[in-house]
């Protein structure tokens, strides 16, 4: 009877480690094209890819906020990535897609759709291959860029999803509107 003593104490395994698949083969990125350039988005933040549908506009929103659509009962805002990056606006066509992205903010996940010209590929990129972006005085805000990476003979820009989905600019837009009204009065 005594020899079973240790067996009868239930024991929750501590060596039950979880191997993250991404550690071995690098991260996967979805590549999209915008005005002929290639951008990468961490595939783990992509919820789904949809065709373009006319959203319900939001009053007095910044130009790049296209409006909101209904995705299975959720109200999801849509932003145009070209306009967000101050590129030339292009009429939506059949390759235009909306990539629905999600970010975690304080434990709550937030969803937003971004409009891009087209999706092209999925790339495996090892994290060590990602280089810091050089100081860019170009059109793209530095907070949108996580880094650069050489792929074959080209360079792709890896986008920072959190920066992309940040609401601070939009908040600023609405705040500025109010302030200007107040200051005039």
């Amino acid at each position: 009877m005594n020899d079973v003593a240790s067996d009868t104490i239930p024991y929750i395994g501590e060596d039950d480690t979880y191997h993250d698949i991404n550690e071995t083969i690098g991260k996967q990125f979805l590549t999209v094209s915008l005005q002929g350039e290639t951008y990468c988005i961490d595939i783990l933040s992509v919820n789904e890819i949809r065709g373009w549908q006319t959203p319900t506009m939001l009053p007095n929103a910044p130009e790049y906020v296209k409006g909101v659509i209904n995705i299975r009962g959720n109200i999801v805002p849509i932003i145009d990535l070209r306009q967000r990056f101050n590129m030339e606006f292009q009429e939506y066509n059949e390759t235009t897609v909306v990539i629905v992205l999600s970010v975690e903010e304080a434990g709550i996940s937030r969803v937003m759709g971004v409009v891009v010209d087209a999706v092209s590929d999925v790339l495996n990129i090892d994290e060590s291959e990602i280089k810091d972006a050089p100081d860019m005085s170009g059109s793209i805000d530095a907070s949108f860029v996580m880094g650069l990476c050489n792929v074959d003979d080209g360079v792709v820009v890896i986008l920072d999803v959190e920066g992309l989905l940040a609401l601070s600019d939009i908040r600023k837009h609405y705040g500025a509107e109010e302030r200007s009204e107040e200051s005039v009065s």
Binding site: N60, A61, N70, Y174
Partner: protein, 718 residues
């Protein structure tokens, strides 16, 4: 073993707050001198559950505080201490302190010692003072309790050992637990000496072979962590009395030698970590190892009263982060029935769809009607799940009124009517503070002092009545007092003085009374601690308005006043008018629409500052063009084509110019800021029948917006 205990925290906090409420209500019901055992028991049980839970989650401040509280209650329960006014007051104060502590812990903030030190000292003083006076066997233990709380945290001498008291309940063997295995486990930790107590062993013919009559004292001569020992007894801790003492080896041996002949229950008071009562959230076996190792206080009179388990069930859901809700089983049952019906209807329609021909058209229509009915009923029952009786809010008032009456030197009796009236949980959470304000106001300004009341020929004891009832799709909450009422003249004077109204304005008494909701208004002659700073009433009004409700006051001088709060039953669904502006669809809350009409160009007058007003009978209503506000291309070219929807919010009317009125329908409100930010003038969004999103207009916000823009335009023009 590492189990994330934080997942149980939410449940613990909810249960503890409920427990505190029970304690508070019980305490308020206690009258001095009388020992109503049932009430004291329920207070004790609540305190005990909080203590057990907090010890499990290592909220040491809470558990040690509750421990003292419990000691006091235990004495009351056993009739060893009289229920005095002071004791009840002290206990009520400690309930407040506990509430503060738990709130801080819930917010992951540290609990400053200053918060509870004073009360806990007072409690301890009360315990030791009278306990010593009684001079019975208990007093020793009580005195020891205050003295020895630190003793056990002795230094790690080489010869330190553990003295373990292990007294299993008699049915322990039936649950498959074998004490000898535990001893075996213990022996792996170090050298053990076991003394068996067999005093409880009945004579041979009375012995039931499946029961355990024995208890043991064990000396474990090893320098190990309490946690390790507890792990050994983990599976039996709910079914046995366990005591751990960290002592020098010699002392332990001495104790064992002297006490070996003493009955176990007498040994127990010396030192005991109370096993948490099963039923409290701590009792889940996984949660057990976390029992606090510094919780080695001496428990006077060790009796694990499992009564606590009988009343309190653990909460069903361990919610993550957000709050949970308790639902009556009947509501869930009706939901299940409805879902069953829905499934039947669905399969009927499905079958019909398989091979459909025109002859079946009638039956299809019938099926669809049935589906509609099912859906509606389902919707209603789901809404009912969120409904809770308003007693959740009302219950906090007896305490408040009691304290406040004392503070104000007034005699006030509180009457609650319609406590069973159900109300949406979110509304409930937000209506509490405005109501507190109103009740405070009634007591401070309404009810007169007892002497004044006698002079006026009224009973000395004033009366405040809270009444809740349903009326149409609304819930009405009335706060009535039989005090002095509102002095309309004084209010008017003050209003003119403060510039709230014009001297010439002709107002009815009703209108004057409602002026007290204007910002910066207070008629109290002296500013008191309770109210009178003039920030109350307008906040009350704003809060209630933001819930989609309204508040009004009616008053008879000399006889008292009544505040009526009118609230929608739910915030999740709204009756809306669907309107179209250009190619956009909006929803206007039906409740804010006064009327809708077709305009003629000549009925519009332009006044200064580019404002267009429409003459609606006696009123002049400014016109707001949604298309301009929101930068949409609208269709109408002249006012002849447009429709005006006259809406009202916070007493201001405006006319919204729209292209077309569409259907009226119920819409489910979805908030915009889940994924975006909230926008001025928009209260949310909803999904229309065709899957499109439509925005819901927030009339109050719209009006504010328009006024701002107007102002800026005017300034521009100037």
């Amino acid at each position: 073993m590492s189990i994330d205990l934080s997942q149980f925290h939410q449940v613990f906090f909810e249960e503890s707050f409920e427990g505190l409420e029970i304690m508070e209500q019980g305490l308020l019901g206690l009258s001095p001198g009388e020992t109503d055992n049932e009430t004291i028991n329920s207070i004790f049980r609540a305190a005990h559950s909080i203590k057990g839970g907090s010890a499990t989650f290592k909220f040491e401040e809470v558990s040690s505080f509750t421990h003292i509280l419990e000691t006091l209650l235990d004495e009351m329960r056993n009739g060893e201490r009289e229920v005095t006014v002071e004791a009840v007051d002290l206990l009520l104060q400690s309930v407040d302190v506990l509430k503060d502590m738990l709130q801080l812990l819930q917010a992951h903030e540290p609990v400053p010692e200053s918060l509870y030190k004073e009360i806990s000292d007072a409690l301890e003083a009360m315990v030791s003072e009278e306990g010593a006076g009684e001079g019975n066997g208990e007093s020793a233990a009580v005195a020891e309790s205050s003295a020895s709380s630190n003793v056990v945290e002795a230094t790690d001498d080489e010869s330190m050992s553990w003295l373990i008291q292990f007294a299993p309940e008699s049915h322990i063997l039936r649950t498959g637990n074998e004490p000898s295995r535990m001893f075996k486990e213990l022996s792996l930790l170090g050298e053990i000496t076991v003394v068996c107590h067999h005093q409880k062993l009945p004579s041979l013919e009375e012995i039931e072979e499946e029961l355990c009559y024995l208890s043991w004292s064990i000396i474990l001569n090893a320098d190990v962590d309490l946690l390790q020992i507890e792990e050994v007894f983990e599976w039996v801790k709910d079914e046995s009395e366990l005591g751990y003492e960290h002592l020098p080896l010699s002392a332990a041996e001495e104790r064992l030698g002297t006490k070996a002949s003493v009955a176990v229950d007498e040994v127990a008071p010396a030192a005991a970590v109370e096993a948490t009562a099963p039923g409290s959230p701590a009792a889940t076996p996984e949660a057990a190892p976390a029992a606090d190792n510094r919780q080695l206080q001496v428990a006077p009179k060790k009796e694990v009263k499992d009564t606590a388990a009988a009343d309190k069930k653990p909460a069903k859901v361990a919610s993550t982060g957000s709050s949970s809700i308790r639902v009556g089983i009947d509501k869930v049952d009706s939901l299940i029935n409805l879902v069953g019906e829905l499934v039947i209807t669905q399969s009927m329609l499905g079958q019909m769809g398989d091979d459909f021909n025109l002859e079946k058209l009638e039956r299809l229509k019938e099926g669809l009607i049935q589906l509609e009915q099912n859906t509606r009923e389902l919707q209603e029952s789901v809404m009912r799940i969120r409904m809770l009786p308003i007693s959740f809010v009302f219950n906090r008032f007896p305490r408040m009124v009691r304290d406040l009456a004392k503070k104000l030197d007034k005699e006030v009796e509180l009457e609650l009517i319609g406590e069973g009236t159900e109300l949406d949980k979110t509304v409930m959470e937000q209506i509490g503070d405005p109501m507190v304000h109103l009740v405070r106001n009634s007591m401070d300004h309404g009810i007169e002092s007892p002497d004044k009341r006698e002079q006026a020929g009224k009973p000395r004891v004033g009366k405040v009545i809270l009444n809740a009832y349903h009326q149409g799709g609304n819930i009405v909450i009335e706060i009535t007092d039989d005090g002095a009422g509102i002095n309309a003249e004084k209010v008017k004077e003050k209003a003119i003085e403060r510039g709230v109204i014009d001297e010439k304005s002709e107002l009815t008494v009703e209108q004057i009374n409602n002026l007290i909701f204007e910002p910066g208004f207070s008629t109290a002659d002296t500013i008191s601690d309770v109210s009178g700073r003039g920030v109350g009433m307008d906040v009350v009004k704003r809060n209630i308005n933001s819930l989609g409700g309204s508040v009004e006051v009616s008053s008879t001088p000399g006889h008292g006043s009544t505040f009526s709060i009118r609230l929608p039953l739910t915030l999740a669904i709204l009756d809306g008018q669907v309107i179209r502006v250009g190619d956009q669809i909006f929803i206007v809350p039906l409740i804010s629409i006064v009327e809708s009409l077709q305009l003629k160009n000549q009925e519009i007058t332009k006044i200064v500052g580019n404002t267009e007003v429409y003459r609606l009978r006696e009123d002049h209503v400014p016109i707001v063009k949604i298309c301009e506000e929101f930068c949409i291309d609208a269709e109408f070219k002249s006012y002849d084509d447009a429709t005006v929807v006259v809406v009202e919010a916070e007493g201001v009317k405006v006319g919204l110019m729209v292209d077309e009125l569409l259907a009226q329908q119920q819409v489910v409100i979805k908030s915009l800021d889940t994924n975006f930010i909230s926008i001025d003038g928009i209260s949310g969004a909803t999904i229309l029948g065709d899957g499109r999103v439509a925005l819901i207009l927030d009339i109050g916000g719209m009006i504010k917006r328009v006024n701002l823009t107007k102002k800026s335009k005017k300034a521009y023009a100037a």
